[in-house]
């Protein structure tokens, strides 16, 4: 039992239990209107799931998140690598990078909608445009810190571009890619909400904003929590096993 409690599942369970307790206390402190308790939130979520409303909006949002994520990460990886390895690419790209990095999400979204139209491509493009510079910046740091010794080895043994990328560069970038992915997924989801708020007729962001207008905190929390649960699930069931696999070469801690 003791080992279960200090094991990975036990500790996470403790942590989640603490969270629920804090939540219940907060709901007593602030009252059910401003901070509805877990029971009422989950009841609402269950109702919305049963009605099919929540799964519909969730699916739409997830699709947008995935599309924007795939676009942003692949472009960010390419630009980050280029800017990290080549001084010329870096000097040329820097002003653009800083521009896009600091362009408010709102502006990018509005301009994308106006210039491209109020449609799905504009939405996804706007989200991706918001995320690309973040991914670029992170990957660029990784590319700058690449081990020159291994690069030299790869050159001597004639690895060529693809082999070097796959076997020498990407494994070194793994922690940077992991950081960019995790914080990127979160950022994308934040921006998808804004995108949905400004010009889509469905998705979780749309729903949350609707409920914000009528100040239904319970509904807002329900939609948020379902998404967070999905992310927790993806993290535990997909990302972490993948990461363990990618990191199996690291020396096991004593």
């Amino acid at each position: 039992m003791r080992s279960f409690l200090t094991g990975p599942i036990g500790l996470r369970a403790i942590s989640i239990a603490v969270f629920v307790v804090v939540w219940v206390l907060a709901s007593y402190a602030f009252g059910p209107r401003l901070c509805p308790g877990p029971v009422s939130v989950f009841a609402f979520a269950a109702k919305e799931i049963a009605s099919g409303e929540l799964p519909y909006h969730l699916a739409i949002t997830l699709l947008r998140v995935i599309a924007a994520f795939a676009i942003a990460m692949s472009i960010g990886l390419a630009t980050g690598l280029m800017m990290g390895r080549s001084r010329i690419a870096n000097d040329l790209g820097e002003p653009w990078l800083i521009l896009f990095l600091n362009a408010p999400a709102l502006i990018v979204i509005v301009l994308a909608y106006i210039w491209i139209g109020l449609n799905e491509s504009a939405a996804i493009l706007a989200v991706a445009l918001n995320k690309i510079p973040n991914a670029t910046v992170t990957i660029r740091e990784g590319a700058r810190a690449l081990d020159t010794h291994l690069m030299e080895m790869a050159r001597v043994y004639g690895f060529g571009r693809m082999k070097t990328l796959r076997h020498v560069i990407l494994p070194q970038l793994q922690p940077y890619i992991a950081a960019a992915s995790r914080s990127g997924l979160a950022l994308i989801w934040k921006i998808v909400l804004v995108v949905e708020l400004l010009g889509r007729s469905n998705g979780i962001g749309f729903q949350i904003h609707l409920y914000f207008q009528v100040f239904d905190v319970r509904a807002i929390l329900a939609y948020t929590l379902v998404f967070v649960c999905i992310m927790l699930l993806i993290e535990l069931a997909v990302v972490q096993p993948l990461e363990r696999h990618a990191n199996r070469w690291r020396p096991k801690p004593a």
Binding site: Y113, G199, Q213, V214, F215
Partner: protein
């Protein structure tokens, strides 16, 4: 041929949705020779983007927006939709009796410093009591739902908010200190003015004249129905987000009060007066280069029709 489609941007829980829903449900669109396609949006920002991007044909906004866009060469135009406007709400037991009593207190303001209600209240305070609300109160500009909430928990002494938030507050022990219509009257309006209306592109409307005229007619018919029939409201109730009967009844009452009844030319004349006052206070930031209400802000086709 198929009936022409009119895409109208609506907020799901917004008041416009009630009218649009009624049109569709009762087949008023088909009756007037067009097909109405509601585009559900999450906020008024989305509406502004949508009309600029040409992805919706009609949204609901105010004549300030229309006039400014016209001045900059975008031929939007306006058909009155409702005379319901915002008001400053205070708790029933507040000692405040007039705007002057708000001096020094924290006042929430929906829609930002360029909101027409807020500007009218500032003008009114200037006229009647000789002070600038913006200077002598602490305005807190925030999203409308916050304001209602912050008024409830006492962080704000008063809040200038939109009518459907206020209708709710009225059932919870809050009262109107002063409303937009009060202010309008003080500036010489001869009756209630329609602050918001259906906004669309004039050029588009010229190409789809029959459909747009049909839309206006359908809107009238829906208003008539909602103005008289309680059954029509019962059907809408689930989408009104009214927690209890009192709120529901108050929303209905306020909606009915807000149905515009005056000829458009009369409204336009009143609006011009008010516009000048607002332009003086809001300055270029508010109106852009147009110091007076841009000609054609009210849809000329309707005026001719009358």
């Amino acid at each position: 041929a198929d009936a022409e489609i009119v895409r109208v941007g609506v907020l799901k829980f917004g008041t416009v949705n009630w009218e649009i829903d009624t049109i569709v449900e009762n087949g008023f669109d088909k009756k007037h020779g067009f097909s109405l396609e509601p585009v559900v949006l999450a906020g008024s920002d989305a509406g502004r983007i949508g009309i600029n991007a040409g992805e919706v044909d009609v949204i609901v906004s105010d004549w300030l927006f229309v006039s400014r866009q016209r001045a900059e060469g975008i031929p939007l135009t306006f058909v009155p939709y409702s005379t319901s406007v915002g008001a400053i709400m205070v708790p029933d037991d507040s000692i405040a009796k007039t705007l002057a009593d708000l001096r020094g207190s924290r006042v929430g303001v929906a829609g930002g410093p360029l909101d027409k209600n807020w500007l009218m209240f500032r003008a009114l305070a200037q006229d009647r009591y000789g002070f600038d609300l913006a200077e002598e109160t602490q305005p807190a500009f925030a999203a409308p739902p916050f304001l209602a909430e912050k008024l409830r928990d006492g962080e704000l002494a008063a809040a200038s908010n939109f009518w459907h938030y206020n209708a709710r507050l009225e059932t919870e022990g809050y009262r109107e200190l002063v409303s937009g219509q009060d202010a309008a009257k003080a500036f010489g309006a001869t009756g209630p003015i329609s602050a918001i209306g259906y906004v669309f592109n004039e050029e588009w409307a010229a190409e789809h004249k029959d459909a747009m005229l049909g839309f206006v007619a359908a809107s009238h018919e829906a208003k008539e129905l909602l103005g008289t029939s309680d059954a029509a409201w019962d059907r809408l109730r689930p989408s009104m987000n009214a927690e209890d009967d009192a709120i529901f009844r108050n929303l209905v009452r306020r909606y009915r009060e807000g149905i515009p009844s005056r000829p458009m030319a009369e409204e336009e004349a009143d609006t011009e007066k008010i516009y000048r006052r607002l332009a003086a206070i809001g300055g270029e930031k508010l109106v852009g280069s147009a110091q007076t209400l841009s000609p054609g802000t009210f849809w000329s086709v309707l005026k001719e029709g009358e």
